[in-house]
Amino acid sequence: MAIDLNFLARLLPDLLQGALVTVELSVLTMLICLVWGLLVALAHMTRGPLGWLAGAYIQIVRNTPLLIQMYIVYFGFPMAGFAFSGFTSGLLALCLQNGGYVAEIYRGGLQSVSARQYEAGRALGMRRWTLYRVVILPQVIARVVPPLANQAISITKDTAQVAAIAVMDIMKVAQVWVESSANTYDVFFAVALIYLVLTTIISLGARIAERQLAFAS
């Protein structure tokens, strides 16, 4: 089936506007999860109720579908008196779920540093903060960047699900165009292409970061 270029030219301005929302959601989710995930990971590594709670959180958010989490936040919360906008509900659900994944990535990174490194630092008389700053964190960061980049790509693609809760992201704009034109192939082809561009930018950024970190360590 031939691609209708005239049609694509009419479609593109709308799609790009939707893509802006997609980028906003993705970037906000990534930034929030970088901090939130670290907090959850640190909590999970402690003993006692806090660690137990963090573990339960990770299990729950990772093992239930994102779409259902969005529905609960978007349709369920208003019944309890919290009516967030579609964008905020989507962001909240994306952060809840991806926070669980990112926490596990951090935990993997932190636990991968051998105990001997801590012992060696202490043997050299380093204080706790110096030990982390000079010895542990550089190794952790170098190890978590590739999986975090993967997660960022997955977040970007996951944002498509906010279309189900009335957010005008690129997917929703696409659905509106499909409804009016019946031209599903061209519309979704263009959408896939735009997602590909977005995720490629993330991959390239991650590769540069990895190279820099390799130099640094």
């Binding site: 208003p78 579609g86 809760i165 509106v176 019946a182």
Partner: protein, 278 residues
């Protein structure tokens, strides 16, 4: 010589294969040979096509599909339903996954560029259903930023909303059941949906009510039709004739029965004039 014979024979074979394919190229023939029709349908669009309390796919459109199977193949059970979402329905028909779609689909000129429609089997106007506790009776009262108005992501609904309710907050959702959920949970104050579906929801829910839209563009008629991949005249002609007979010909009694069963009222008359006077 042998080579020549062989290639001539292959050419002949190829030709017959093509000829066979040509004679067979209407979906009508394919369906008769397959002994089963494959129909795209919704499952969340009551009372036209939805899953009932027993988990069975039922509704006005589902009855239509069974009857088409009976007329084509002599058995109303020779039908396979492919449940689709709204953005999957057109590709399902265009790719040949289904023989046609019966998905509460409104005829729309932009759509007709890429998809073929039969004549309409159902006139649908628009209705506004609101929460009773919102305290509004008239659609004009909804035009207020404190109210949220939920619609499907379909172009006529979006245009109408922007034109007639520019001040209300707008929610675009992708299925009638999502609209219903939005209003039930208080996420939205009111929603706009095809009249038959609104009749159903109003009938089933005491906390919802219909807003008065008399004399507004909400009361204009839209037309739902069967859709299929364009270019197959024989197949289109069969389905179009079938709808014509249902809507205003030999199958009108059946139409009356389905209307009463699913929409709880009589259909529009068979003719726009009194036949007995002529």
């Amino acid at each position: 010589m042998k080579t020549l014979l062989r290639s001539a024979l292959s050419a002949l074979l190829l030709f017959t294969a093509f000829a066979a394919a040509r004679a067979d190229d209407s979906l009508l023939d394919t369906v008769l040979k397959r002994d089963k029709i494959i129909v795209a349908t919704y499952s969340t669009s009551p009372p036209l096509a939805y899953v009932d309390d027993n988990g069975k796919l039922v509704g006005f459109e589902i009855d239509m599909a069974h009857q088409i199977a009976k007329d084509l193949l002599g058995d109303e059970n020779k039908v396979e339903f492919v449940v689709v979402q709204s953005d999957g329905r057109f590709p399902a028909a265009l790719s040949g996954k289904v023989d046609f779609g019966l998905c509460s689909t409104t005829i729309f000129p932009d759509r007709a560029v890429r998809i073929a429609f039969t004549r309409p089997y159902l006139d649908t106007g628009n209705s506004l259903i609101a929460r009773k506790d919102a305290g509004i009776k008239d659609f004009a009262q909804l035009n207020d930023p404190k109210f949220t108005y939920a619609i499907l992501n379909v172009p006529p609904a979006i245009e109408r909303a922007k034109q007639l309710l520019p001040n209300a907050r707008l929610l675009l959702l992708d299925s009638p059941s999502a609209l219903f959920l939005a209003v039930k949970t208080g996420r939205a104050t009111a929603f706009n949906i095809d009249k038959p579906i609104a009749d159903y929801y109003e009938h089933e829910n005491d906390d919802l009510m219909r807003l008065n839209v008399d004399g507004t563009p909400f009361a204009y008629v839209q037309q739902d039709a069967i859709f299929m991949k364009p270019g197959d005249f024989k197949w289109w002609l069969f389905l179009d004739t079938w709808v014509g007979e249902l809507r205003s010909g030999s199958r009108y009694p059946q139409y009356v029965a389905w209307y009463q069963k699913w929409l709880h009222k009589d259909p529009p008359p068979q003719r726009g004039y009194d036949f007995n006077k002529y």
